[in-house]
């Protein structure tokens, strides 16, 4: 009976050397998991010279480990830099370390991590004087929780995260910072460890829209190594549409003039679970936007109700496929089968490494996704989800004024009474308390396991449609914790979304 050993030489070539690990955690908020030892000399003429950045630990860096917060890759260092990281370094940015995250990006609270949960660094006004040890510990959101927390705590000016179903916007909202999930295909995914390829986007987190834009502009480069990258031609078409509408809307002497801007409020985004204080934050924002000259329009995106189910089928199916490579053969954790265990098939040998290497949440999703792809379930789950996904995209195309440049005949969707952007809460609540915390008498509720999946209800539709979405701080909830509002635009209208975001950011 064959045993499945490892070619040691191959392992060495692939760079999973054991000495590369340098786990340096920041104990109070647990945001960074690997720190750069010596600040590398950066280019002095680069547009980001001197800017400090954290990189989510599922984005490959040659100088620091890339573990995806998984035991599977705890010893793994990539032999190459992700394209986005390369672009940042070339622009003179200083990478301070790798940020904690949910394992492979799977989670909304950044609690599924071998490094432990990330603690939200935000301090509500009424507890500023309470020592951190007894202060209420809340989630920083996930999965890019470490990226958001490191920015919110002032450890760096900006951070790269990834957003598959809300993983940048949700932590940005919970931590009170700005988080951009760009249009799908604009930022290269080369070097981003795949969770769900058709949804994964590199996102940017920072304390202001301007900083987000600075970083975004540097990494906004077509990369032939990403087969899903939007073609230069498509980018040009989208930017010419943005270019034609921006001057009309932001023409006033004051930058905050929004004359002619049509903002849609989708009524499917007010579920029962939505915290009432968030609705009142939204009202304040709407009032100010109206004052600035924008018009507000109720819109309907009927397929939204299916978005969460569609998301979990598609994301899990793709994850089960993408995570199949972690078998302990070429790299990563390897747990040899115990003596006497069956070695009859490769899968029985891999099972030991995979059971030890993947956390509970990753295993749950791999199983769900594997089921969705089986011959019996494929049609009812995976294909059905793809069909509904098309409806969700069509919903968005119906409400936007701007055509989707992906469509063969985009003008057929051009509608005069369409909206420029959508505005809705980024999350159904403020940051939830971390599980296992003593009740500190705060407003934060503990999360039941279903609630965790519900966190994504506001963010997954834009992910499924590949649209740019920006979460901007919009005041505080009743509990004194940050509330985020999301601005969503048509594909490729990232510039417009950022411009509107800057106005929303200015409303206090």
């Amino acid at each position: 009976m064959p045993s499945y050993g490892v070619n040691i030489a191959m392992r060495r070539i692939l760079g999973s050397s054991r000495n590369a690990r340098a786990v340096c955690t920041t104990p109070d908020i647990n945001a960074l998991v690997h720190l750069s030892k010596t600040p590398p000399t950066t280019r002095h003429d680069g547009p980001l010279h001197g800017m400090t950045l954290a990189i989510k630990d599922n984005i490959c860096t040659a100088s620091l480990p890339t573990t995806c917060s998984s035991a599977m890759l705890a010893e793994y260092t990539s032999p190459f830099d992700a394209t986005a990281v390369e672009l940042l370094r070339d622009a003179g940015a200083q990478i301070i370390g790798k940020a904690n995250c949910d394992e492979f990006g799977m989670g909304s609270l950044n609690v599924n991590s071998i490094y432990g949960p990330v603690v939200n660094p935000y301090r509500p006004a009424d507890v500023r004087n309470v020592p951190s040890t007894v202060r209420e510990r809340r989630s920083a959101g996930g999965s890019s929780g470490g990226s958001a927390a490191s920015v919110a705590a002032g450890m760096c000016a900006a951070a790269l995260g990834t957003d598959t179903g809300g993983s940048v916007r949700l932590p940005a909202s919970y931590c009170g910072i700005v988080g951009l999930k760009p249009s799908y295909g604009l930022i290269s995914r080369w070097g981003v460890v795949s969770f769900a390829d058709s949804l994964d986007c590199v996102g940017v987190l920072a304390r202001s829209v301007d900083t987000v834009k600075e970083v975004f502009d540097v990494i906004l480069v077509y990369d032939a190594r990403d087969p899903t990258a939007a073609s230069p031609e498509l980018r040009k078409r989208a930017s010419s549409i943005v270019g034609s509408c921006l001057p009309k809307m932001f023409s006033g002497v004051q930058t905050n003039t929004l004359d002619g801007l049509r903002i849609g409020i989708p009524h499917e985004y007010f579920p029962l679970e939505l915290e009432p204080s968030i609705t009142s934050s939204l009202r304040t924002i709407i009032r100010s936007l109206k004052d600035a000259g924008a018009s507000i329009h109720p819109v309907s995106l009927p397929a939204t109700q299916y978005a969460l189910s569609v998301y979990y089928v598609i994301a899990s199916a793709e994850a089960s496929s993408n995570l199949a490579r972690f078998d302990g053969i070429q790299y990563g954790l390897r747990v040899p089968p115990p003596p006497g265990a069956s070695r009859s098939k490769p899968s029985t040998v891999y099972a030991h490494s995979r059971s030890a290497g993947f956390g509970r949440e990753a295993q749950k999703r791999i199983l769900l996704g594997t089921y969705a792809l089986t011959a019996d379930a494929f049609d009812n789950y995976f294909l059905q989800a793809q069909r509904v996904r098309a409806h969700i995209k069509a919903d968005f195309n119906r409400v936007f004024r701007h055509p989707c440049v992906h469509l063969a005949r985009p003008e057929s969707f051009l509608s005069a009474d369409g909206v420029d952007v959508l505005l809705h809460p980024s999350a159904i609540r403020t940051a939830p308390r971390l599980a296992g915390e003593q009740d500190g008498g705060g407003e934060g509720r503990d999360m039941s396991s279903m609630d965790e999946y519900l966190q994504d209800v506001m963010t997954v539709p834009a992910s499924l449609a590949g649209l740019p979405a920006l979460s901007v701080p919009a005041g505080l909830g009743k509990d004194g914790w940050p509330v985020g509002m999301s601005i969503v635009g048509q594909w490729g209208m990232d510039e417009l979304v950022l411009r509107v975001g800057r106005v929303v950011e200015g409303i206090r």
């Binding site: 064959p2 045993s3 499945y4 050993g5 070619n7 030489a9 191959m10 070539i13 692939l14 984005i59 490959c60 890339t66 995806c68 890759l73 793994y76 990539s78 032999p79 190459f80 992700a82 995914r189 080369w190 070097g191 981003v192 460890v193 795949s194 769900a196 390829d197 058709s198 032939a224 190594r225 990403d226 087969p227 899903t228 199916a317 793709e318 089960s320 496929s321 995570l323 199949a324 490579r325 078998d327 053969i329 070429q330 790299y331 098939k345 490769p346 899968s347 891999y350 594997t370 792809l373 089986t374 011959a375 494929f378 995976f382």
Partner: protein, 529 residues
């Protein structure tokens, strides 16, 4: 006597050895009974996996690798399925697959897509293979088997692009499996035939014809020995007039011979089971070359669920009619067209067959770059010369010489320019045919790059410059003197004996005189008393 390996001869013999042929027309197959299994019909379909002869792999920029290279030395990060890597489709692989589709008369699809086929195996680093299950590159098509006189046409169901796997080698001594990623991610074409073959021999013909075709268009080496072409065969038997029987798939056959043996043995196994009143279970089977038997690998019930999924990274492959046209126009000549064209220049069917057969042995170059084979050599040699002379010199002399030395045409050291000059010298009488052959043998042996006129001079092979014919006259007189009896017979009217006197002249001159001149001179001398 030198026995020359003669590929076209071998082919003809093989056709003679072939058991009773099944005779039928394209439209209406009228099957004649096969004496090996009277009362039964055999149905065979074949899946061929042909490695694409591209310089780089299907989705990475790693170079493709021949067997025998240092393990794990042709590997890009993507091939090892390192996290964070993504596929980039190699357009050369697409082009070569499109060439293949065009050559097989298949419909190249304007839109095809890539899917992931999942299974865990140590030779599959990503845990899935990228293939084209739902929307293949090309559909429909056919391959005519020219070597069969009864015009068998095998339908092609589809042609799809997919990744090759790595190789896992079990080290029995250390009891470990070692993985070599050199082959991982190389491009494959899966060519699926219709179940149109009716005998092991037709199956063999199909694979050989396909091999020749792939090599001709430059899309694959098509070598079963080197593993660049692998076959899975589906076999079923049925009584005439009944629907096809349950089929079994025989996997990983690596020579045409073994494939034919495997089919034959599988046919007998099916018939044996049916004769005993048992049903044939649908199975995937392997082939034991030593026992010449197939054996069960797995039944239909344990066939794995591959969890096919559209690849979310690779966008649909869109091919415009313009692109397909460009590929079609830039394609090398197909064997059938080549044969027809050669016969158009005045060559006999056999000559054309020899040239194309030798041509099929040429080296296939990377990315479909044009290769120099026997036919191209002929085309250049025949330029401004008699096609007949060119083909005679090539087939009977050059290829013959090479074959005698157990060399192939790719070893040919004689350039077209050298060969052309040699032929011209013989044609215009500067050298006799015999001297030309001697000179050619010298050129093949010495691999000399010197031009033939200089070599002929050096070797004393030039026809004697004998403007007044005095040298020839002297040799003739010498011969007449040496053969008085023969001379008398000729004078008595026995003209046949003249040849013997001519032979003597040839011998004396060292073959440097032309037979016609000798005859004229001798006739002239013998007429005199």
């Amino acid at each position: 006597m030198i026995v020359r390996p003669c590929p076209w001869r071998a082919r003809q013999l093989q056709q003679l050895w072939r058991p009773l042929r099944l005779e039928r027309l394209h439209s209406k197959p009228a099957v004649r009974e096969d004496q090996r299994w009277p009362g039964w019909e055999v149905v065979v379909g074949i899946e061929v996996h042909a490695q694409i002869k591209s310089r780089r792999k299907l989705f990475s920029d790693a170079l493709t690798c021949k067997p025998g290279e240092k393990p794990n030395s042709f590997v890009a990060c993507y091939d090892a399925a390192l996290p964070g890597t993504l596929p980039t489709l190699n357009p050369k692989c697409v082009e070569l697959a499109v060439r293949t589709a065009v050559a097989l008369n298949a419909q190249v699809q304007s839109r095809s897509t890539f899917d992931r086929k999942h299974y865990f195996y140590s030779d599959l680093p990503a845990g899935y293979q990228i293939t084209q299950r739902y929307a293949p590159l090309a559909k429909g098509g056919y391959l005519d088997l020219p070597s069969s006189r009864d015009g068998v046409r095998v339908g092609i169901t589809q042609i799809q692009l997919e990744q090759d796997t790595a190789k896992s080698i079990f080290d029995a001594r250390r009891r470990i499996t070692q993985v070599d990623l050199n082959r991982a991610g190389s491009g494959l074409m899966e060519i699926v035939s219709e179940p149109d073959m009716r005998s092991p021999e037709e199956a063999g013909d199909y694979v050989r014809t396909l091999q020749a075709m792939l090599r001709a268009v430059g899309s694959s080496d098509g070598s079963m020995e080197l593993g660049s072409l692998r076959c899975d065969v589906n076999v079923s038997v049925n009584k005439p007039g009944h629907p096809p029987g349950t089929r079994c798939e025989i996997k990983n056959l690596n020579s045409v011979k073994f494939m034919m043996v495997a089919i034959t043995s599988e046919v007998f196994r099916h018939i044996d089971l049916l004769d005993r009143g048992q049903a044939i279970p649908q199975e995937t089977r392997g082939f034991d070359e030593a026992k010449a038997e197939t054996f069960k690998l797995r039944s239909k019930e344990d066939s794995p669920d591959y969890r096919y999924m559209p690849d979310p990274n690779l966008p649909p492959l869109l091919l415009s009619p313009d692109y397909i046209d460009r590929v079609r126009r830039s394609m090398p000549e197909l064997p059938r067209e080549m044969r027809a064209r050669l016969m158009g220049t005045g060559l006999t069917e056999q000559e054309a067959e020899v040239l194309t057969t030798v041509d099929a042995g040429r080296e296939v170059r990377f990315d479909g770059e044009p290769a120099r084979g026997a036919v191209q050599y002929f085309d250049r040699l025949a330029q401004g010369r008699s096609a007949k002379a060119a083909v005679n010199w090539m087939i009977h002399e050059l290829i013959g010489q090479l074959a005698a030395r157990k060399e192939t045409f790719s070893d040919n050291p004689v350039s077209v320019e050298q060969m052309g000059e040699l032929v011209d010298m013989v044609q215009c009488g500067k050298m006799t045919g015999t001297s030309g052959k001697t000179l050619l043998r010298h050129m093949v042996t010495s691999r000399s790059t010197v031009c033939p006129s200089l070599l002929a001079k050096e070797l004393g092979l030039l026809a004697v410059s004998d403007d007044d014919g005095s040298l020839l006259k002297n040799w003739c007189l010498e011969a007449i003197e040496a053969l008085p009896e023969e001379v008398q017979k000729v004078r008595d009217g026995n003209v046949k004996v003249m040849n013997r006197i001519m032979g003597k002249v040839m011998q004396l001159s060292g073959g440097r005189v032309k037979a016609g001149d000798v005859r004229l001179m001798l006739e002239d001398l013998l007429r005199k008393p």
